[in-house]
Amino acid sequence: MAANPSLNNSPNVDDWLAVDGDGRIHMRSGKVDIGQRISRSLTIIVAEELDMDPEDVVIEPRVTGESPNEGMTAGSNSIEQSGNALRLAAATARHHLLALAAERLRTDASALQLDHGLVREAKTNRTVSLKDLAGGTPFGIPVDPDAAVKLPESYRLIGRAATGGEALERATGQTLFVQDMAMDGMRHARVVRPPHAKARLVELDDAVMQRLAERDMAVVVDGSFVAVAGDDEYAVIRARDQLSNTATWDTGAGLDTTDVFEQLTSNDRASFPVVEGTAVDEPVPAPLEPPDAAATTLSARYERPYQMHGSIGPSAALAIAGENRIEVWTHSQGIYPLRNTIADIFSMDADNVVVHHALGAGCYGHNGADDAAFEAVLVARAMPGRPVLLKWSRDDEHAWEPYAPAMVSELSASLDADGRVVQWTGASYSDAHSRRPRPGANRGGSASFVASVLREGGIEPGPAAPSLIRHGGLHRNLDPLYAFPERRLVKNLVRDLPLRTSAMRALGAVCNVFAIESFMDELAGAAGADPVRFRLDHLGDERARAVIEAAAAGLGWRKSDRTGGRGQGIAFAQYKNAQTYAAVAVELEVDDAAAVRLRRMVIAADAGEVIDPDGAVAQLEGGAIQAASWALHEQVTYDLEGITSRDWETYPILRFDNVPEIETKLIDRPGVKSLGAGEATSGPTVAAIANAIDDAVGIRVRRMPFNADNIMAAAIADDD
């Protein structure tokens, strides 16, 4: 179990669990809630192991210094890391509590069981409460990595639990988001943004500054970082607009508007061979020659533009700065990395920076949350002791969040005379998929904050260090799970690209799976094979085969009427070739104007032992709907003067008028390692839609989004 970094960092039961003076269990986790309901799953795990009601498990707030340091809430790792740690901590606690009770009742621990806050001896019905046994007392023991956990046949909660009480709070407007926080003496703040990331401040308008000063508004200027703060939120918004409209900026040469897809395969780059899913710091081997057995060789290139997280609630944070102390409330997905980066920037002891997690609007990735937190700190430092609630505007969010990188995947493959793949090559190209803030100058580091670059003496972000880890950023799912006898895979981290990028749900797996699974259909076409059959013929993994078969059966694979612009498509991936297996089957219609109407979607997934089926289904479906939106609509646009997709009209996303009927089949595997499900459907959904479009109208669209422009362009290219 040493493989769990969460237990390495926080090895003691007291890091995770406590019995309070009333005998209730308090649970700590370093993984934060971002709409994925991880707290619910973790509560179920603890309540199951300790035979409590979930309602009697108190979830402690996530705050640095108190919560276990579990790094980022990312990569669908929370169940495998926090869930595994809490399960073992609770199992260790259970054995400890039973031993204490055995001593107290002068009996053998094997005669005892936990029962809703009591320890009970079955044959005598004698009991002792957790309160009397351990209330308010630390456990004082390490988590036993080999502690015996409950077996599936005795589960009361795992795999059965229903929606928690927080659902009604959300529906009644009682849930407090960071945007809703209020404190005595609090000032609202907004940021005055440059026209684009390369522009620098020349001057602010004196007359406007004078008027704002007379109205007790504070303007904070640090190099080209400009913010305004005041007591009334709307007055602050108007002040921001006045400052924006009158400021003078040196816009330099503007943004680089060379076609990004051209840049991706022609700019300088760092290239690495990828072996068994891991990038290796060695020279890239020479391209493969098609083998003797090759009867046909195909190649194709797939493209994803810059896309954005697009949270419905713009990023926000509350900060208070005092003498050598900073306290921040943020919806960042990494409270410890954020704390350490802020401490590093101001040369403070990390213990003097306290970062609380607070709920934000969902998006699944590194959006503006960390930037807003740092900007709130910058404003708060200018008015010590006063709480500052800084919010981004819609325009800030659309134009300044770190985007999902534009990406290209180039594939080629050879089929033998029997239509089997005998050789596969893949090369993917993009900017870095993670530039989350971290202390130190490199790995994005503190320069990953927009404001760090803009401040006086600002730090320019250096070239991103490549992630070489197994299925890291841009080579995530570059290596197909299929049983191909020979393969050559290359990761290309491309330099000098125009826009700031970071992590968005599923990272490189979106474009890689879009490419692999589109290409599998193209190869099936060349082999004259049915796409489902073709996949199964190249897959030995039974769990992989099972989800493909279940999704195909659920949709009624190729049994429905597919004339008149209707079609069906399927796609599959196992996330990181190690986590949840997911197949997505789609039925859709393409109209005469090349608009795609989604009709039905069937998801089949295997996430091992499912803790919270309702939550897992919500994650799989939500991921699929977000991916359908990327597939059909989304593209960041920009010109010399800056980002031009700055609201929901210029950056449309999927709306309620194009939501398919969705059915999700979970293949539960009790007793088999539980896996995160939040990113499993992202790539397969995009590819399934592309494949269904091809089935519907015979047009192979290889550039996202699949809007009318790109479908028409693909139709013309097919004719050439």
Partner: protein
């Protein structure tokens, strides 16, 4: 600054504000009704929907002065007795992930069902299409509406 009379959730309130302030900021910051969400300030996303004289209305950019004398109901105002039938249907079907868009959707569905207790699919889609959700809870929201109209 002006003093205006606003009827919110069945009660009259006197607020002294710059009359050009959009209603949303008055509800949130003067009356503490933070269930009303700011999403865009452009009436493009639906997070700020409230009932105005029974009609679902986006209130993030229209000045508060235009709402004087009208009956305004927020998501909090629908929540008497532990939640309205619409709110309970959303909760029962897990029709929210982060929940930021949920108040606006609850308001839209409430207004729809008051106007048309048995809406057809096209009416439901028309009522919900002004609302964005980024977590992808759409299918569950539609499921909640189906349950409310007895279709499922």
């Amino acid at each position: 600054m002006e003093t205006l009379s606003l009827n919110v959730n069945g009660r009259d309130h006197q607020v002294t504000v710059d009359p050009s302030t959009p209603l949303l900021f008055v509800l949130r910051n003067h009356l503490g009704l933070t269930g009303v969400k700011l999403g865009c300030g452009l009436e493009q996303c639906g997070a700020c929907a409230v009932l105005v004289d029974g009609v679902s209305t986006l209130c993030c950019s229209t000045p508060v002065a235009e709402y004087a004398g009208r009956e305004i109901v927020t998501v909090e105002g629908l929540a008497a007795d532990g939640g309205s039938v619409v709110q309970r249907a959303f909760a029962d079907l897990g029709a929210a992930q982060c929940g930021y868009c949920t108040p606006g959707l609850v308001v839209a569905v409430t207004a729809l069902l008051q106007r048309s207790p048995k809406p057809d699919k096209a009416e439901v889609v028309e009522a919900l299409t002004p609302h964005l959700c980024r977590c992808g809870s759409h299918a569950r929201v539609l499921g909640a509406v189906d349950r409310l109209i007895g279709g499922a």
